[in-house]
């Protein structure tokens, strides 16, 4: 009886939300604790806004929000999920949530993935599915690609490359002009994984990449070596800035801004700091990572950020309503407009004033498949050893065989 009531209340709530974006029927009460990793200014303000909105619709509900530093959150989540679980927590899709799903710390929310909502969120359903069940709800995702200096390209007479040969030809001209092609800061390793992901997706395709990160293919496979050989072409050309091991991704931005490097392979979150560092929309533009192997469909990276309900939550009813609220097209539209990212809900609209979001939206709509990111597709331990190997490869490409053997050894242990 209770569950029927709950379900119908839920349905009512959802339909009301879909119809008007406002909740009329409202039975939620008690306390709800929300833990967020959105410590950067824009995401923080975004979440505070929608939580206030949700709070207004449920006057009886007492919402308590805790915002934790984004990097600190990644290690703290283990402690609070076991010791002091909130009702809603942010996290990431893909294998990154596996340790918490496997140990039963995340609540199965398959019931939210029903009917209309499931269709609207379909593009990320696989990324949130483990063992045939869904474990969270996405609130945003963003594209990866080449953010480049349009003014430098114009000055050198270059155009956006479509193929690997054009990419390399462009790069050679940039190097001849005395600059570097790509800025990167590999101090925290993951930036190098962005390069590996794209090179592997373009050289061997999405299926191979997924099989590799799922541990089904050997790291000493010839196809992996082909990816690395492509990467090596750029390294041998001197395409990347020197001393990248000393910089974080933010510290690599000045090279792009000063014109010492012409492009940056990054996620869309980099646009904000790049613009804040002084580049305008006329100087900065975006292109899709070019085709490498003919005939391989273009898959893209689109890391998805998600909301989850810990299984130890006290107020799961309110938590479910909140997840549903965040998944609605209206909320996703307004959230992502202020985040400067892409809504997952296909009924939501993107901010057309933002050319990067617009381009990313078109690119991802045309993508054959979406990868999460190396450290979200591969299990934590494999990701760590892998990214360390990529960094070493970028500095000492001659060590390739040794590096791949090390990765293979890790693979044999991690996936058994």
């Amino acid at each position: 009886m209770r569950s029927i009531l709950k379900a119908s209340a839920m349905a009512l709530v959802t339909s009301a939300a879909l119809a008007t974006g406002a909740f009329a029927a409202d039975k939620l009460s008690g306390d709800m604790k929300i833990f967020l990793d959105t410590s950067n200014p824009a995401p923080r303000a975004t979440f505070e806004g929608i939580i206030a909105q949700f709070d207004e619709m449920h006057p009886d509900l007492n919402i308590e929000t805790t915002i934790i530093d984004r990097d600190g959150y990644k290690t703290q989540i283990r402690n609070f999920l076991t010791a002091n679980p909130p009702d809603v927590a942010t996290w990431y899709a893909g294998n990154r949530m596996l340790p918490y799903v496997k140990t039963g710390l995340f609540e199965d929310v398959s019931d939210l993935w029903q009917g209309e909502l499931a269709e609207q969120l379909a593009s990320t359903k696989t990324a949130l599915t483990i063992d045939g069940k869904q474990w969270g709800v996405p609130y945003t995702y963003y594209q990866w690609g080449m953010y480049y200096r349009k003014d430098i390209f114009d000055k050198l007479g270059l155009s956006e490359p479509k193929t690997w040969d054009e990419e390399k030809a462009n790069c050679q001209k940039i190097i001849d002009s005395g600059a570097k092609c790509y800025t990167i800061g590999t101090k925290f390793l993951w930036t190098a994984a962005g390069w590996f992901d794209y090179l592997n997706l373009r050289t061997n395709g999405y299926e191979f990449h997924m099989a590799l990160t799922a541990g089904e293919v050997s790291w000493t496979d010839d196809r992996v070596k082909k990816t690395m050989a492509n990467w090596r072409e750029l390294i041998d050309m001197g395409a990347f800035i020197d001393d990248h091991t000393a910089y974080s991704w933010q510290e690599a931005i000045p090279f792009l801004v000063d014109g010492k490097a012409a492009a940056y392979l990054m996620g869309n979150f980099a646009v904000d700091p790049i613009k804040a560092a002084g580049l305008t929309d006329d100087q900065l533009d975006f292109y899709q990572f070019p085709l490498i192997t003919e005939g391989i469909p273009m898959a893209e990276e689109a890391p998805t950020d998600t909301l989850h309900i810990p299984s130890g939550a006290q107020n799961k009813e309110a938590a479910r309503a909140f997840l549903q609220f965040v998944a609605t097209p209206e909320v996703q539209t307004s959230m992502n407009a202020s985040l400067g990212q892409l809504p997952v809900n296909n009924q939501a609209s993107v901010n057309t004033d933002d050319k990067f979001v617009q381009q990313g939206f078109e690119m991802l709509n045309g993508a054959s498949a979406l990868a999460q990111f190396f450290d979200r597709d591969a299990p934590a331990e494999m990701a760590k050893v892998g990214m360390e190997g990529f960094q070493e490869f970028m500095v000492r490409p001659d060590n390739l065989d040794q590096i791949l053997q090390r990765l293979e050894k890790t693979r044999e242990r991690v996936y058994k």
Binding site: T75, K187, F188, D243, A246, E381, E388, Q391
Partner: protein, 309 residues
């Protein structure tokens, strides 16, 4: 009850409580009890727990699985472990430079001139500020684009050197940063030690014609033995605890070349990508035995000193 009305005589054996009877032997234990209790709960028991966890495969969240000595077997041919161990040894050796450096600065500052207190406190300053700040300052100092180091060596036409990004220099670069506060610490120990140096012995040595190095080595340094011992202890312990500087300056990189055992343990067990409590515990056990070697030596020499008196 006829006895109740009897007046208490002074000669009557008083009915003393058990505590009163054993006061002398019990009281020290009572005072020690809190310390013993907490030391056991937070130090001794966790040591044995580490031994136990090192025999399991455990992600810190789910069920643990007994795997015997497999963690140690894996450690045996883990190149990252040997890199960390090698760096630990480099740390131990080079960190000891803080002792002579501290001694010379102390000798230099041990004089009475105008404002010497200010100079002393300026030299002591690096020890007062947090290790995290020291790490950040040196990270900027070493920065390959705008760092002071590369600007200076640029004047003589060298560089740039990417100290923290190059596997050959990175450990030395971090140790140099660590020596800065550690030298200050040793200096303050020696400054207090120098106050206790007997002026009569110096006078006598002078009459016998000792000066310069001979005076230092045969007269001053022997009298500073207690300060040297403490400086040695804190420096060894500091070298083995070298975690914060590595975490702030390189995060163990590039590709793990600046890790030491304590950082590697943190990385595999507790960091963003670390879920291997068992393996981390195995590293901790190895680190424990290395430390135990030094601790045993310190305890032994302290015991010898006590007996000698």
């Amino acid at each position: 009850m006829s006895t109740a009305s009897l007046a208490k005589s002074d000669y009557e054996t008083p009915n003393r409580s058990w505590y009163k009877r054993n006061e002398i032997s019990v009281t020290p234990w009572l005072f020690l009890a809190p310390a013993i209790l907490f030391f056991a709960a937070y130090v001794i028991i966790p040591i044995f727990q580490s031994f136990e966890i090192s025999l399991f495969a455990w992600d810190g969240l789910g069920a643990r699985e007994y795997i015997g000595t497999e963690n140690y077997v894996e450690l045996w041919d883990d190149p990252a472990f040997y890199t960390s161990l090698k760096n630990n040894v480099i740390w131990l050796i080079l960190y000891l430079l803080a002792i002579p450096a501290g001694l010379f600065i102390a000798l230099f500052l041990n004089q009475t001139v105008m404002g010497i207190r200010l100079y002393k406190s300026l030299f002591f300053f690096p020890f007062v500020i947090s290790q995290v700040v020291v790490g950040l300052v040196f990270t900027w100092f070493y920065d390959p684009t705008f760092g002071l180091l590369n600007t200076i060596i640029g004047w003589v036409g060298l560089g740039p050197i990417n100290v923290l990004g190059d596997p050959t220099y990175v450990t030395y670069g971090i140790i140099a940063a660590g020596l800065w506060p550690q030298t200050a610490y040793c200096m303050i120990l020696y400054l207090t030690g120098l106050n206790a140096v007997d002026p009569e012995q110096i006078e006598a040595a002078r009459l016998d014609g000792a000066k310069g190095w001979r005076m230092l080595w045969y007269v001053i340094v022997p009298q500073l033995k207690p300060a040297t011992f403490i400086a040695f202890v804190v420096t060894i312990v500091g070298a083995l605890r070298s975690f914060d500087l590595i975490s702030v300056m390189t995060n163990g990189g590039p590709f793990g070349e600046s890790r030491v055992l304590s950082f590697y343990m943190f990385e595999v067990a507790l960091s963003e990508y670390g879920f291997r409590m068992g393996y981390g515990a195995a590293i901790a056990v190895v680190l424990f035995f290395i430390m135990l070697f030094f601790i045993a030596y310190f305890l032994y020499s302290m015991y010898q000193d006590e007996r000698g008196r």
